[in-house]
């Protein structure tokens, strides 16, 4: 465990000693602020998100979380794309492999680091919730469950991003693979659900990450969602370890 924490600290310091974490945080907050305070409107795509925080609107962060669930499918892989692929590219992976740490510890350490960064980003959205508290009467249960959902969702996204990062030495490719996987398990499956007969669509919908997240975002706790997020995170971490392991004998 200690080794995992040390590895995580190393990763975190890499994040924070470089401008990367700050740039990501700033862009993330800018995106959140845009959705929260101004809304998004793309007329030619007939796409419109009304500002979450406006006079007369419901005092809740739910619409923000719902949009972020899709948005993070792009942001998180960009956050995690360098985690392992950078080690491959720079050759530091060899040092890491010869160090007295297991592959699992490496993966968990990197996962933990990304998770901490993600939690910090999420914490930064607290100011928006504070606004809702000051100018409205939010439902604390919904808000709490929404944040729990966001944490679980983040864990899945990071594990998928990490897995993508173990597949290639090219950061960008890793990022794209991560986005592709997450896009499939979110928007892709949504489109599949629309295309297939309703008898099967319910089964497919259960594999969709957003289906499970939606429960949390509306303030509903369901063990199915919890189990789904935990097992999927564990699964991707496991196969990440296996992919990393395979480098030893490939």
């Amino acid at each position: 465990m200690r080794k995992i924490v040390i590895l995580a600290r190393r990763e975190l310091s890499a994040y924070f000693y470089s401008p990367m974490a700050y740039v990501i945080a700033a862009l993330f907050l800018l995106l959140v602020g845009l959705i929260f305070l101004w809304g998004v409107r793309v007329p030619f795509l007939k796409f419109e998100i009304e500002p979450v925080f406006r006079s007369g609107a419901e005092s809740t962060l739910r619409p923000l979380f719902d949009v972020l669930a899709y948005g993070l499918a792009v942001v998180v892989p960009l956050l995690t794309m360098r985690l392992v692929s950078e080690e491959f590219r720079s050759g530091t992976i060899e040092t890491l492999m010869t160090a007295p740490v297991t592959d699992a510890a490496v993966i968990l350490g990197k996962f933990l680091a990304a998770m901490v960064l993600y939690l910090l980003l999420l914490a930064a959205t607290g100011v928006f919730f504070a606004l809702v508290v000051v100018f409205g009467k939010p439902d604390w249960g919904v808000a709490g469950m929404g944040y729990i959902g966001m944490v679980l969702l983040g864990a899945v996204y990071i594990s998928v991003g990490l897995f993508a990062s173990t597949l290639t030495r090219h950061q960008l490719v890793a990022g794209l693979i991560g986005i592709a996987i997450l896009a499939f398990f979110t928007a892709g499956l949504y489109l599949v659900v629309l295309a297939i007969p309703p008898e099967y669509s319910q089964v497919v919908a259960k594999v969709n990450i957003i289906t499970h997240f939606a429960d949390f975002s509306k303030g509903v706790f369901d063990t199915r969602g919890l189990v789904f997020f935990v097992t999927v995170t564990a699964f991707f971490l496991f196969i990440s370890v296996k992919v990393l392991e395979s480098r030893r004998w490939r």
Binding site: L29, G33, F53, S59, D139, L194, T223, R248
Partner: protein, 901 residues
């Protein structure tokens, strides 16, 4: 996995191969083990998730419970064992009904419903293509259910194809009829030709319209189409039958004319003879005047009176001959001077006049005077005789015209005399009409056909039955103009989600037997149309036919509807299938101040009628009374309080003083003059009031938009005589328990009940400031008071319960189907959908009274919105939208700088 290095020093080539083989084999082993591990992990992932899917724990931490199914909805779903299919079709392009705003909640709900029951399949339709697919499936089901209707429609098309040419042929036949033919005098050829042409055109037009409807509508209104073709067929049948009957009657006319000829001519001759006899009494023209003019005049008077009699008799004979037949339609019957009987009557009238004139002359004392006037009477008699002879000629002409048949007409009559004339056309037409009548109204699909054209609907399919839950049911309007003032132009009316109960009650009504029977109770006396001029129509302030919306909604809430007209029946109809009954009592009519005409027995509202209702309620049947403000009656300019037939009953038996002479109004405080108010004009008709108590009937409606019209207050009867609306004190009934449902609370000082409507209207018209009249006696009534209450008590050991809703006009069709017009402060009008939510108050009342309170939905939650001033919003945007991310950038920049140093 570490790969150990092998010793290769002894044989460089052999061991190399061995090493490579070893490496390959160990790689293969490692690869296989990784693959197995990944497969095992995947299997484990699936197994764990499947198990967790089967045995899950779910709880809603949301305080308001908006995202979970209400207990009532869950209860309904738990009863359902049959397969149910729910399809949301949200494809509206209207800006205030955008699917992206309203569909997510519906989807959440439907997913929740599907999670609760495995037998419920949920389908979400968002594109036009999917919508078309659903319509195609429904069309298939509908086509199966309406196979009888379709056959009728198809047969009609065939019939139209066959009979069109037949009508054309008949038209040609009539066109070919000679212009001098016998039937022309009755205009029959033209009439027949017009009937045939109209028949052909009607068939063609209806056929085309039906074809168009079948092609256009995704779900054709088959019953409507059958109704349409039936109307065409009926019209055609009536027209053909009239023609057939007419020809048969005409065919017998020549014979009748021949038969009647002698007596008609004899009657005409008698008139001429009578005139000549009378003329003889005064002598011929240009002969000397009789020596005794008085005696001659006397005889003349007697004779001329005989002329009157004979002329009258001739008129009667002609009329008798005409009877109900076609003779009066003959051209010869009508002359320039009128019809033949009329001319005889005029003759009789003139004869009477002449007799009177002669009598006057005879009574004159002077002989000279009598002699002077006799020549004038002689002249008159000559004209008189000439007219009698002209009429006789006209009668003769008529008889000649009627008997003088031509050959083509004889042929037509020969055909018309047979029963099978036009039967070739009429028989298939009648057969089809009979089959169309047997096709039925297709009740199970009625709603589907009518509502499927709407956007944003949820389809509920259970077996062959399909229900449609409309947008306004799932998303009714909120209890107040969300986001502030009505004058706020940019804001749309806020809607609240009521989907779970709207959908689940629809499921319930499609799958279960009715919970109870709502007996629409009223006092109405509507005479048949032919008597309506002589007998008054007696109806209360709400005619029972004005409650179609209420009836429809009650039926959809799984309630059956029956009727009890107190004017005709002493007790309500027996309940079908022994289900519970609830009386829904409409305001009774005011007793007529005028006594009925002699010999006319008209039922009047009386204490006897109240007794009938009292007896039923005492027997344990609950009742909902619809009362409301009643405009004052004016007797000699003095206003008397409006009459409500159950006032005394409610006061005496239920300790409820329904003040129907006071009208609740909703003014608006004048910010410049504290204590003074203005009346926003729309509140006169649409008074927004949703201040429900926690009573189970009203609680779910707290967040719902509720508009009331002509509401009156209900207060507990004081027990003292002489209160404003009546005189009877409340009976001392300690066991009456009264609970408020909807109230005007004390703090709503902009609402009160006015007593003098006339003075109030004058003030409003003159734009004078309004304030309550605080006189102790006869003044206005200030809050708190109720507008809806429940009262219960025990009568002979039985629990009796009633609910009084004192805004009866708010439940009529003309109110529930009317767009709400809100006048903005800038003078523009803001239309809102009709206040259909009112009916939920009625449905909840019925559910509560029949003990099905568990099916009353929890109602939408009241959500506190964000309230922020525009200026503050700008600051917030700068601080949190720009400065906050900017701070992150700044920290990043600082870190980079520090690192560089």
């Amino acid at each position: 996995m570490a790969v150990k290095k092998k010793n290769t020093d002894s044989d460089p080539s052999g061991p190399k191969k061995t090493r490579e083989r070893d490496i390959r084999s160990s790689r293969r082993a490692a690869g296989v083990s990784v693959a197995i591990a990944i497969v095992a992990a995947t299997a484990l992932l699936i197994v764990i998730n499947v198990i967790s899917d089967k045995k899950n724990y779910r709880c809603d931490v949301e305080t308001l419970g908006r995202y979970r199914l209400s207990d009532a909805a869950a209860r309904i779903l738990d009863q359902m064992d049959q397969p149910i299919r729910l399809t949301s079709i949200y494809t509206s392009t209207e800006s205030d009904r955008k699917p992206q705003d309203y569909l997510p909640r519906v989807r959440d709900l439907m997913a929740e419903i599907a999670r609760r029951k495995d037998n419920i399949i949920v389908v979400n339709v968002t594109s036009d293509r999917e919508k078309a697919e659903v319509h195609a499936r429904l069309r298939k089901n509908l086509d199966e259910a309406a196979s009888g209707h379709r056959k009728v429609i198809m047969d009609f098309q065939i019939l139209a194809g066959i009979q069109g040419p037949q009508f054309e042929q008949l038209t040609r036949q009539w066109q070919a009829y000679s212009s001098k033919g016998w039937l022309v005098q009755f205009a029959m050829p033209k009439l027949a030709e017009a009937a045939m042409t109209a028949g052909r055109d009607d068939l063609r037009t209806t056929s085309m319209e039906l074809r168009q409807k079948l092609a256009d509508a995704s779900l054709p209104d088959y019953p409507g189409m059958v109704r349409h073709l039936s109307e065409t067929l009926k019209k055609l049948r009536d027209s053909l039958e009239n023609l057939s009957v007419g020809l048969r009657q005409l065919a017998s006319l020549p014979k009748e004319a021949s038969k009647s000829r002698p007596e008609l001519i004899e009657a005409a001759d008698k008139v001429i003879v009578a005139i000549s006899r009378a003329s003889e009494k005064l002598g011929k023209k240009d002969t000397p005047v009789p020596a005794d003019p008085s005696a001659a005049l006397k005889e003349f008077i007697t004779s001329v009176r005989a002329v009157t009699g004979s002329a009258e008799s001739a008129a009667r004979r002609l009329e008798k001959f005409a009877g109900n037949g076609f003779a009066p339609y003959a051209r010869s019957w009508r002359t320039v001077r009128g019809t033949l009987p009329d001319r005889y009557r005029r003759l009789a009238y003139i004869a009477t006049g002449m007799a009177e004139q002669a009598r006057g002359i005879q009574l004159a004392a002077k002989v000279e005077f009598q002699k002077k006037h006799i020549p004038q009477i002689r002249d008159g008699m000559l004209k008189f005789d000439a007219e009698a002879r002209r009429i006789r000629s006209a009668v003769e002409k008529l008889l000649k015209d009627l008997t003088d048949l031509d050959e083509p007409t004889k042929e037509i009559f020969a055909q018309a005399g047979k029963d099978d004339y036009l039967q070739a056309i009429l028989k298939p037409l009648n057969d089809l009409l009979a089959r169309a009548a047997g096709a039925g109204p297709l009740d199970e699909q009625k709603e589907l056909i009518q509502k499927i054209k709407q956007d944003n609907v949820v389809l509920v399919e259970i077996g062959s039955r399909t229900g449609v839950v409309g947008f306004d049911e799932v998303w009714p309007l909120a209890s107040r103009p969300e986001m502030g003032r009505i004058g706020d132009k940019a804001k749309k009316p806020k809607r609240v989600f009521y989907g779970d109960m709207a959908i689940c009650t629809r499921i319930l009504s499609l799958a279960s037997d009715p919970f109870a029977e709502v007996v629409l109770t009223y006092f109405e006396q509507i005479p048949p149309q032919y008597l309506q001029r002589r007998q008054p129509t007696i109806v209360g302030s709400i005619y029972s036919g004005w409650l179609q919306t209420v009836r429809e909604r009650l039926e959809r809430a799984n309630l059956k509807i029956s009727e009890w007209n107190i004017a005709k029946q002493d007790s309500p109809p027996k309940p079908t299938d022994n289900i519970r009954q609830v009386l829904l009592i409409l305001p009774p009519p005011e007793p007529s101040p005028m006594p009925p005409m002699p010999g006319m027995k008209i039922p009047q509202w009386s204490p006897d009628e109240v007794e009938k209702v009292r007896k039923v309620i005492a027997g344990g049947t609950p009742a909902v009374f619809l009362a409301g403000y009643v405009f004052p009656r004016y007797t000699r300019g003095i206003p008397l309080p409006g009459y409500y037939g159950f006032s005394e009953y409610l006061r005496i038996d239920w300790k409820l003083d329904v003040k129907t002479s006071l009208r609740v109004i909703q003014a608006k405080a004048d910010p410049l003059n504290p204590g003074e108010f203005k009346l926003p004009i729309h509140t006169w008709r649409h008074m927004r009031l949703s201040t429900f108590t926690d009573h189970p009937v009203g609680r779910p409606l707290k967040a719902r938009r509720m508009y009331l019209f002509n509401a009156c207050p209900i207060v507990k009867a004081s027990g003292k005589a002489g209160s404003p609306t009546g005189t009877a004190p409340a009976r001392n009934e300690p066991n009456v328990e009264v609970k408020d449902i909807l109230i005007v609370p004390k703090h709503r000082n902009e609402m009160w009940a006015i007593s003098d409507i006339e003075a109030f209207i004058i003030k409003v018209k003159k734009r004078k400031p309004l304030e309550p009249d605080r006189k102790e006696i006869g003044g206005d009534l200030l809050g708190p008071f109720a507008v809806a209450v429940e009262a219960s008590r025990k009568i002979k050991g039985k629990q009796a319960r009633i609910i009084v809703l004192a805004a009866a006009d708010s439940f009529t069709d003309y109110y529930l189907q009317d767009t709400v017009m809100l006048f903005r402060e800038d003078g523009t009008i803001d239309p809102e959908p009709p206040p259909t939510g009112n009916v939920d108050l009625l449905i909840n009342s019925v559910y509560h009274l029949i003990g099905k309170g568990e099916y009353i939905g929890a109602g939408p939650a009241i959500i506190e919105p964000v309230e922020i001033a525009p200026k503050t919003m700008v600051v917030v945007k700068i601080l949190f939208g720009l400065a906050w991310p900017g701070l992150m950038f700044a920290i990043g920049g600082a870190v980079v700088l520090l690192r560089k140093r």
